[in-house]
């Protein structure tokens, strides 16, 4: 909640100020699209730890945060990156080795939880997951739940319909609201005050943004407010929700940013190969992330021809004919 007229800052500042160790964090995007990757790499660079991470199907960003050891607890619906990792690799290793407690919800439930947080209600109802183990099995113990006042006392609640079968419904599942300490999203365009515009699918970014106590918006292009206010139907984030605006071209790379660039198959395959082996992964962290000062330097090391290939075609918004094998 911030009505200042200029919130532009560096990514290092934004992460330093709004992502303390132990923070409850959510990131935008979906699988291999519009993850705020520059911010993810900056969190890794600043060696943030003990994060409590909320995700629906955010994919690549989640896996890199887990791989770098930033995440202590995870609430999630789906940890995968489509054909590049049907299960996110570092996530899988962390869970199978007992290092990462996870609470499982469905995609809609995570969306509703952010929506409840954005709406300011303690829960929202759905008919999803009745009769399933998502209702019956809980990932976080009572003790964990009691220790952290930022975690609700129960995973969910099943409730009889108080309106006597209204809508042919006998029973619903109530899922508790999430109010992250900070949400980070990457958008196509923002102004200095924070008004933000997403092109293509917004996923659940808007709900995640509005649910959070603090909001960092990284943007592909920084524009004048006149441009955004010329078509306010296309903007999703009112400026007063925003705490930091960060201009980061290629800020979603190696995930896609619709109408700017496609996902980078070369990089995602490279990541996949590194992630499968602990030694190679340590080397990846060192040579690809820690050794670069910031995203600009990280991007400068990538072959221009590789980036040229993923450039979005103006008609379709993605890289037509890109070799994705």
């Amino acid at each position: 909640m911030n009505v200042n007229s200029d919130k532009l800052m560096s990514l290092a500042d934004a992460v330093f100020r709004f992502v303390p160790d132990g923070a409850h964090v959510s990131i935008g995007g979906f699988t291999i699209n519009r993850n705020p990757m520059a911010a993810v790499y900056e969190i890794i660079r600043q060696k943030k730890g003990r994060l409590h991470l909320y995700a629906h199907s955010n994919g690549q960003g989640v896996d890199e945060l887990i791989g770098a050891g930033c995440v202590d607890r995870l609430e999630i619906a789906y940890a995968g990156s489509g054909r590049f990792a049907s299960t996110c690799i570092r996530f899988r290793k962390a869970v199978e080795s007992g290092q990462l407690p996870v609470e499982d919800y469905t995609n809609y439930q995570m969306t509703l939880r952010f929506m409840a947080g954005a709406m300011g209600v303690p829960f929202l109802p759905t008919r999803s997951s009745l009769g399933s183990d998502i209702v019956n099995r809980w990932g976080f113990s009572k003790t964990v739940r009691q220790k952290d006042p930022r975690v609700p006392d129960r995973k969910l609640a099943v409730m009889e319909n108080p309106f006597a079968g209204w809508c042919d419904t006998d029973r619903v599942v109530l899922v508790p609201a999430i109010n992250p300490d900070v949400t980070i999203i990457h958008v196509q365009a923002a102004d200095r005050q924070g008004t933000a515009r997403i092109n293509g699918l917004p996923f659940a970014d808007v709900e995640q943004a509005k649910a959070a106590r603090h909001l960092i918006v990284t943007c592909e292009t920084l524009v004048d407010d006149d441009l955004l206010r010329g078509a306010p139907e296309r903007n999703q984030i009112p400026f007063f929700c925003v705490d930091a605006v960060v201009h980061v071209p290629m800020g979603a790379w190696p995930t896609a940013c619709y109408r700017h660039y496609d996902y980078d198959p070369t990089r995602l395959h490279h990541y996949r190969k590194a992630a499968l082996d602990d030694d190679r992964y340590r080397a990846y962290l060192e040579t690809e992330i820690f050794s670069s000062k910031n995203h600009e330097e990280m991007m400068a090391r990538i072959d221009d021809r590789q980036l040229e290939k993923i450039k979005a075609d103006p008609r379709t918004g993605y890289a037509v004919g890109l070799d994705r094998r």
């Binding site: 899988r92 999803s128 399933s132 619903v172 917004p202 808007v206 379709t316």
Partner: protein, 258 residues
């Protein structure tokens, strides 16, 4: 006269699923082969079917096959680019949801078509951890009909799931009603060997038909539970037209077909 055309079991599966899609269906697609099935159906028997994704894209014009439901290819020239909230509401909605057919896969399935895509082994100390529900449980909960893709193997067709991620018919004919779920449930399971259905009375899995060259015994040998095979037929192999649509129009790069 006819010419023999070679085809893979993945191609057979995609074609079999496409045939299950009716004109006018709204098709919920996941990643991979289910997208191909939906794309193929639009070219074959269901030109007015609508492809939509949990990410919010409605009636995507798929000029290239997406590699994830978050792929930018699903955003092109849609009717509406909404959010996750809109997509799932479309399925839970009492009017539109009835028209949705969901296509999904899983790691394990039981005799009532319940699915596990979360863990193998103990939930807290799993031997194998998978991606988790994603939208699968939502789709399985909401829509009137689901089509399930599985590899036929004993470790996948199990008497008891390690984790029930997505509700099928639960424990039988009244299972969903007792749990509080809407009407609907799994319509069929398409594997690399056969098509399984569900008995309308008992809601237990049955063998509906075998693919070319597969015997009933082969199917049963690859399952962890027995099913009725008395009504099983022989499944028509993919026609030349079906194969050409799949290969030339849907996945010319063979990104999904392999």
């Amino acid at each position: 006269m006819s010419t023999e055309i070679e085809y893979t079991s993945r191609e057979m599966m995609a074609v079999a699923a496409a045939r299950e899609i009716r004109d006018g269906d709204i098709v919920f697609c996941g990643t991979g082969i289910s997208m191909l099935a939906a794309m193929a159906a639009k070219h074959i028997s269901a030109p007015n079917s609508v492809i939509f994704f949990e990410t919010g894209a409605i009636d995507s014009q798929l000029e290239e096959v997406p590699l994830a439901v978050g792929d930018p290819r699903v955003m092109f020239a849609t009717s509406v680019n909404g959010g996750l909230a809109d997509a799932f509401a479309t399925m839970q909605n009492r009017f539109t949801g009835r028209q949705v057919v969901g296509i999904m896969g899983a790691a394990q399935i039981d005799i009532y078509g319940n699915l596990n895509s979360t863990v193998i082994g103990d939930y807290h100390h799993p031997t194998v951890r998978f991606s988790g529900s994603g939208g699968a449980c939502d789709v399985a909960s909401f829509v009137s009909r689901t089509i399930i893709f599985m590899q036929h193997a004993k470790r996948k067709f199990v008497p008891k799931l390690d984790y029930l991620t997505s509700p099928g018919w639960l424990d039988g004919p009244d299972g969903r009603k007792k749990a509080g779920l809407p009407d609907g449930g799994p319509a069929c399971v398409i594997t690399n060997m056969a098509i399984m259905g569900f008995d309308p009375q008992t809601r237990r899995m049955v063998l509906k038909g075998c693919f070319q060259g597969v015997r009933k015994e082969d199917v049963l040998d690859n399952m962890g539970f027995a099913v009725d095979t008395s009504q099983a037929t022989q499944i028509q192999p993919p026609s030349a037209e079906e194969l050409s649509i799949l290969r030339d129009k849907c996945d010319p790069q063979r990104l999904i077909l392999g």
